[in-house]
């Protein structure tokens, strides 16, 4: 894997370090990053995206705390092997949670009946 | 209504800088007329006649004001404003009627026919226009042409302007000038020449400079624009061998650029040739002309004329121009906050404190004064050779000293951050310039000792003026030195 797998959007209201952590979470949950895979070094990411290396190390540190990454001596950061966080369905569902919450709030505001919304969602999922 | 608009159009089309220049020139002309009137009163000499005055006015109006209409017409065409373009052309026609046709119909100076006078005024207008609408180097052709006409023409017995038969050369000259203007302006209209190149018409250059100076908000260096206009072979080559922390003075001179910069030998020779050759040419022309003016006693009059030309050129023009160029350059350096000053402030290895200040002053003053001192020596040699009167000797020797005094005082003021307000500096500069020029022409005037203004003789008045100038410069220099001593470091913009 190299640094190009990440996309950085400086203009977004989300801080860059959070963008990196969330992307790593999605990539690992989605299986694009496999356990034990080596991550690009802080320098590579910072150089590729022209961002401050301190931001990248902060993101890696947070991801490590969340159990997404592990530090391997002499190698650098690798994707954590323990499957406590990433692979089960519950964890993946948790990633969808904010979007579902938002959809639910909008549905409330528009005063739509629950069954109509659920039917539409089902349609979308089956497509 | 429309007529007023047509009359004002050239003024509106003129850049602010040029408007100021025209205003200053008007002031100077009024002053000159005043001075002439005073001399007239003193010496009971003849006033200049109306024909001469009209010619000069035509020359100035067509040089300073009206070429702007051509630029306006060009811009109007580029902006697709045909009405404005038409108005510019009409305005030009109105001015031609007002300044050429009308005077020649109304006045009839003695010795002129109406047609001859109109032709003479047209020639003046053409010369003025050509000066602005042709590349800068044509100015030299015009000046030399004028000199030739004025001196050699007389000697060879050409009919003077206004005399019978003068039409034979005035008319072709006028046609030639108009053709040259048309050729040059055609190139401008076809975008064949850029305003920044050295062979652009003068009017475009003036505009370009005015625009450059205004557009650069944080104090344009000015030097950049000047270097950009020069072709590569005319750029001076710096001598980089002896710079670095071991050679603070040399390094500082390199950072000051322009006339302060140490040059390679070939570049220095080229620079000297650039200044000396035109001076020699001027001296040679003067010598030749004098030879034709005074037949007989060739060698002596030759020497006198040549020596006198060298005096005027070197002592007056040379010394004051050198001082002016040096000070303008320095003032520009100390005005711009984004050029050499921050670089030098943060450059490690330059001497600090008192030693640094002395090194900087030496780096500036030595190159600036070196050439002025050389001119002073030339002046001294010429003077000894010419055997002039004692009083004119003194005043002649004072002129380059005055320029040197200006240089030293204002260098201290600029570097010390104590520059007086622009109007005060300008006023002092004009005063000094007038004084230097008057002192320079003392030898040319006969019996200066008997000329009286009010109670005292002219010489006494002149001496008093020199004393005033000297004390003002001394005071300014002292003020500047105080500033130099007090400043935390010398690279603070003033």
């Amino acid at each position: 894997m190299d640094a190009s797998i990440l996309t950085i959007q400086p203009g977004s209201p989300e801080p860059i370090y959070r963008q990196i952590v969330e992307q790593l979470r999605r990539l690992i949950a989605g299986g694009q990053l496999r356990a034990g895979e080596l991550l690009p070094s802080v320098r590579e990411v910072a150089g590729f995206h022209a961002i401050n290396p301190m931001t990248v190390s902060r993101a890696y540190g947070l991801a490590e705390n969340d159990g997404l990454l592990e530090r391997q001596r002499g190698k650098g950061m690798v994707v954590a092997t323990s499957d406590n966080a990433s692979h089960n369905q519950g964890a993946r569902l948790r990633l969808l949670e904010p979007h579902l919450q938002q959809a639910a709030r909008h549905a409330h505001e528009l005063e739509l009946p629950a069954e109509k919304v659920l039917r539409r969602l089902q349609q979308l999922l089956e497509d | 209504m429309n007529l007023v608009r047509w009359l004002l159009l050239p003024w509106w089309a003129t850049t602010r800088a040029m408007q100021i220049a025209i205003g200053a020139l008007l002031g100077l002309i009024l002053l000159t007329f005043g001075a002439i009137a005073v001399f007239h009163y003193i010496q009971h000499s003849s006033m200049p006649d109306s024909a001469d005055m009209l010619s000069i006015i035509n020359l100035l109006v067509w040089a300073l004001l009206l070429p702007n209409l051509l630029v306006l017409a060009r811009d109007a065409r580029a902006l697709r404003l045909p009405a404005l373009e038409r108005e510019a052309v009409i305005s030009l026609g109105v001015y031609a009627i007002l300044f050429i046709v009308a005077p020649s119909l109304l006045f009839n100076p003695p010795g002129f026919t109406t047609a001859q006078f109109m032709l003479a005024l047209s020639l003046c207008a053409g010369i003025g226009m050509a000066y602005m609408c042709l590349p800068g180097y044509f100015a030299l052709v015009i000046v030399i042409g004028w000199l030739l006409y004025d001196h050699a023409g007389k000697a060879l017995g050409w009919p003077q302007i206004g005399q019978a038969g003068s039409t034979t050369w005035v008319l072709p000259t006028l046609i030639l000038l108009l053709l040259a203007i048309a050729w040059s302006w055609r190139r401008v209209l076809h975008n064949a020449v850029s305003a920044s190149s050295y062979n652009a018409p003068m009017i475009l250059k003036f505009r370009n400079n005015a625009w450059n100076n205004r557009s650069a908000g944080i104090g344009n260096n000015g030097g950049s624009a000047m270097i950009r206009q020069r072709p590569n072979w005319m750029l001076s080559q710096p001598d980089l061998r002896r710079c670095g922390p071991e050679y603070p003075q040399h390094s500082l001179r390199l950072a000051m650029g322009g006339m302060f910069m140490p040059l390679t030998v070939t570049s220095r020779l080229r620079q000297c040739a650039f200044f000396v050759l035109p001076s020699l040419l001027f001296v040679a022309v003067m010598m030749l002309l004098s030879l034709q003016n005074h037949h007989g006693d060739g060698a002596l009059s030759l020497w006198k004329a040549g020596g006198f030309a060298a005096l005027v050129w070197g002592g007056g023009f040379g010394a004051s121009m050198l001082a002016f160029a040096c000070l303008m350059q320095l003032a520009m350096r100390w005005r711009s906050a984004n050029a050499e000053l921050p670089l030098l402030t943060l450059l490690p290895g330059l001497p600090a404190g008192e030693r640094g200040k002395h090194a900087l002053l030496r780096a500036i003053l030595i190159p600036a004064l070196r050439w002025q001192l050389a001119l002073w020596l030339v002046l001294l040699c010429c003077m000894i050779g010419l055997h002039l009167s004692k009083s004119s000797d003194v005043f002649l020797l004072l002129t380059p000293l005055g320029a040197m005094g200006f240089t030293i005082a204002f260098v201290l003021l600029i570097v010390g951050g104590k520059l007086p307000r622009p109007w005060a500096s300008t006023a002092l500069g004009i005063f000094g310039c007038v004084l230097i020029n008057v002192s320079l022409f003392i030898p040319a005037l006969n019996d200066t000792s008997t000329m009286r203004i009010g109670g005292g003789s002219l010489l006494e008045l002149l001496a008093a003026a020199w004393i005033v100038l000297g004390s003002v410069l001394l005071w300014l220099g002292y003020r500047g030195w105080n500033g130099v001593v007090q400043r935390r470091h010398l690279f603070l913009p003033s």
């Binding site: 950085i8 400086p10 203009g11 977004s12 209201p13 989300e14 801080p15 860059i16 370090y17 959070r18 802080v42 320098r43 910072a46 150089g47 022209a50 961002i51 401050n52 290396p53 301190m54 931001t55 902060r58 | 650069a216 944080i218 260096n221 030097g223 950049s224 624009a225 270097i227 950009r228 590569n232 750029l235 001076s236 710096p238 980089l240 710079c243 670095g244 922390p245 390094s251 390199l254 650029g257 910069m261 711009s336 906050a337 984004n338 050029a339 000053l341 921050p342 670089l343 402030t345 943060l346 450059l347 490690p348 290895g349 330059l350 600090a352 935390r488 470091h489 690279f491 603070l492 913009p493």
Partner: protein, 298 residues
């Protein structure tokens, strides 16, 4: 007395330390008492509108102008009296650099290399080549972008510990700008260089700055870590019927024609938004830096 000593000690640790800077040009105030401290190793982006006083602040902090009052220290030394040792450790590129217009890039680098003890000749050659700069043309004849790049090379080649750039990206195209940001980011990360740069291109700032300082009309409105800024400030919108209960303390306040108001509010120490955010109809919008600055500066 002890306070003075403590102050002196703190000055030695900061790369740049200015307090109470006041300056004015021709009667108009450019700086009205600015305190700004730049810790070693940080990348501070100074942002503000045109004429906010960014350049003046930078010049005063480096001792390039003498402020009317206030003090400035550079790497622990008073800015107006820097020693050669400190000067060799700092580099500054002014806005629209014009220095030494009569030299070619090669000549300028030759000249300056003799003064800087850690001059990196290899970097100069590589970068001149990479940025495609005609090294043998007189600087006055380069385009503004090329001129700016020459000065950036000049600044980086001396391997400074403190790099100060005034609007470095103004004349650069997007590719060159990205290249410069990369260079700045990596220098800060690896060589541990401290960087101060001013800009009005917010996306540049968000990429590389670890801290931001916002200068508005000669005053420093906020100075905090970049990441925190986005999380700490947000826009609170209140409908017309609730506009009376808007919090008193806000960075900016705009009334709208329909009676609603929007305010820029800050989280409290516990990370909570002001109470008004929970009113019915109230809305909190997260802001990108650009929106935040437009809200504050308008």
């Amino acid at each position: 007395m002890s306070a003075m000593i403590r102050e002196r000690e703190s000055a030695t640790t900061a790369a740049l330390d200015a307090s109470g800077l006041v300056h004015c040009y021709e009667g108009s105030n450019a700086l009205c008492g600015v305190d700004l401290r730049l810790e070693a190793g940080s990348v501070l982006g100074l942002i503000g509108r045109n004429g906010a006083g960014k350049s003046t602040l930078i010049r005063a902090m480096l001792g390039l102008i003498e402020p009317l009052s206030g003090s400035a220290f550079v790497l622990g030394e008073p800015a107006l009296k820097l020693s050669d040792a400190v000067k060799a450790r700092i580099a500054y590129v002014p806005q629209q650099p014009e220095a030494l217009a009569w030299l070619t890039a090669t000549q300028m680098f030759d000249y300056l290399s003799r003064f800087y003890p850690r001059w990196d000749r290899g970097f100069v050659l590589r970068t001149l080549d990479r940025w495609q700069i005609p090294a043998n043309r007189v600087l006055a004849k380069l385009s503004p972008g090329e001129r700016q790049r020459v000065d950036l090379i000049r600044a980086l080649a001396s391997q400074p510990e403190l790099l100060v750039l005034d609007e470095p990206a103004a004349a650069l195209d997007p590719v060159a700008r990205r290249d410069l940001l990369r260079e700045v980011a990596l220098r800060a990360g690896e060589a541990g260089a401290t960087v101060l740069f001013s800009t009005h291109i917010v996306s540049d700032l968000e990429r590389v700055a670890s801290d931001i300082a916002f200068l508005h009309q000669g005053r420093l409105l906020l100075h905090c870590p970049t990441d925190d800024t986005k999380e700490r400030y947000a826009r609170l919108w209140l409908p017309a019927n609730e506009s009376a209960s808007a919090p008193d303390v806000a960075l900016s306040r705009h009334g709208h024609p329909d009676g609603s108001v929007s305010l820029v509010v800050e989280r409290d120490a516990g990370g909570r938004w002001p109470k008004a955010a929970e009113l019915p109809g109230a809305r909190i919008d997260a802001l990108g830096l650009e929106d935040l600055f437009v809200e504050i500066a308008e």
